[in-house]
């Protein structure tokens, strides 16, 4: 057997042994001691994959981590480490529902930012901890978009309206919203706002009227949020760890990050998916495809 062949075989064998051993060690109940799972929620919460250089949170990843932590007998509690401005209402609600279904104590730790949809997620935890200067609250929904009809008109470009179904092009940036459409739009946003208020009211055990008063879309500093009842305690990660320990009735624990790691292949497919999308569509086409592609952001 040639030297090269021996080297290659040994490298492959050792790599397999290392992978199996690391997997085994990672899965054993580390000498039987208690764990606290830390699940980070960073960037915009959305159902679509973020790009190569963007940070974002996908509900499926968080739900998967929550389920994994919930199933793991050595995990005694969970810390949601939040630094997010929010995201789409549906994605945020999905995570919030998964948090509520978790049987283990969950503490939400808002670091820099935990606003809007991210606050909705935090509110579903058993306890919310924030820094006095954290930005939180911002209970509201928006679906604002840029409207180009005036600009197009300036350049002599007309919008030829061809629709079957009178509201099919509602929200198109190529045409002005009429009063009826605006009312319709606002009605839907108000409905979503109502859902948001209802959720916060249930999760935080606050009267709906009080939440409605606070839900102007304004953000609150951690210290203000505490006075308003939107946050339970002011503090940092150490406090969050101690609170989880109290809730779980344990004295010692190891922090373990539960995070879906992007494999090299994931990163490549993420890049290729995004680049294909933008290159394939081309600027012009994506511009026209604005029709009904707006998102409702919480």
């Amino acid at each position: 057997m040639s030297k090269l062949k021996t080297i290659l075989i040994l490298i492959i064998v050792l790599w397999i042994i290392s992978s199996i051993t690391s997997n085994f060690i990672g899965n054993v109940n580390q000498f039987g001691f208690n764990k606290i799972a830390v699940i980070p929620i960073n960037g915009i919460i959305s159902s679509t994959e973020s790009g190569f250089f963007e940070s974002g949170t996908i509900p499926n990843d968080i739900i998967e981590s929550l389920k994994k932590a919930d199933k793991d007998n050595s995990v005694k509690g969970i810390i949601l480490e939040i630094n997010s401005p929010g995201g789409t209402f549906v994605a945020s609600e999905q995570i919030a529902n998964a948090v509520k279904q978790t049987e283990k104590p969950v503490v939400a730790l808002i670091t820099e930012l935990g606003a809007s949809g991210a606050y909705l997620v935090a509110s579903s935890a058993d306890l919310i901890i924030a820094d006095r200067a954290s930005i939180t609250g911002s209970i509201g929904v928006t679906s604002s978009y840029l409207e180009f009809s005036g600009l197009l008109e300036k350049f002599g470009v007309d919008y030829e309206r061809l629709v079957a179904g009178k509201y099919k092009d509602i929200g198109s940036p190529l045409k002005d919203l009429n009063v009826e459409e605006r009312n319709l739009f606002e009605k839907k946003l108000n409905k979503l706002h109502g859902f948001f208020i209802e959720e916060i009211s249930i999760n935080r055990n606050l009267p709906e009227e009080k939440v409605r008063e606070l839900a102007t879309g304004i953000f609150y500093l951690g210290i203000e949020a505490k006075d308003l009842g939107l946050v339970d305690l002011l503090g940092d990660k150490e406090l969050a760890i101690n609170e989880v320990k109290k809730l779980a009735n344990i004295e010692e624990a190891t922090l373990i990050k539960f995070e879906k790691r992007k494999t090299f292949l994931d990163l490549l497919t993420g890049v290729s998916a995004h680049s294909s999308y933008y290159f394939g569509q081309g600027f012009g086409k994506s511009f026209l495809n604005f029709n009904n592609k707006f998102e409702i952001i919480a």
Partner: protein, 142 residues
């Protein structure tokens, strides 16, 4: 026909061969363990004796597999990837190189500080590292 005189491998060739092997070990052996080590919150966990033991276990396993990387290659082909590139070869003081010799000779390699001390020993001794002396081996230039 005169016998070719064995030339002991120089210090810089030993160091370069070691660096190449360490790069390979980092990719194939340390790499799979990184997710476990990264998932531990080191600042927090260092306060807990159980976790320190766990980290030591991981380091021990990595070191053991690394020693096997050097030992098996040296036992089979008398060279690791690094020493192959610098034309170095392990020689036994016995008739035939035995596996235990390869194992003992490489014990210091996964632990950089011990390996540096081992090399300092070589600097004074000019013939062998301390663990080469224990294992009755020597590293020569082919």
């Amino acid at each position: 026909m005169g016998l070719k005189k064995k030339k002991i491998a120089s210090l810089w060739k030993r160091i370069l061969a070691y660096i190449i092997d360490i790069i390979i070990i980092n990719i194939i052996i340390v790499g799979p363990f990184l997710p476990i080590l990264n998932s531990l919150n080191i600042n927090f966990t260092l306060k807990h004796i159980n976790t320190i033991l766990f980290i030591f276990l991981v380091i021990f396993v990595i070191a053991l597999i690394s020693i096997f990387y050097w030992s098996i290659l040296e036992y089979k082909i008398k060279q690791s990837v690094g020493s192959l590139l610098f034309n170095l070869e392990v020689n036994s003081k016995f008739k035939k190189l035995k596996f235990w010799q390869c194992f003992v000779s490489n014990i210091s390699k996964p632990f950089s500080i011990i390996f540096i001390l081992d090399l300092i020993y070589f600097l004074f001794n000019k013939k062998q590292r301390y663990f080469e002396m224990l294992s009755k081996t020597e590293l020569i230039e082919k």
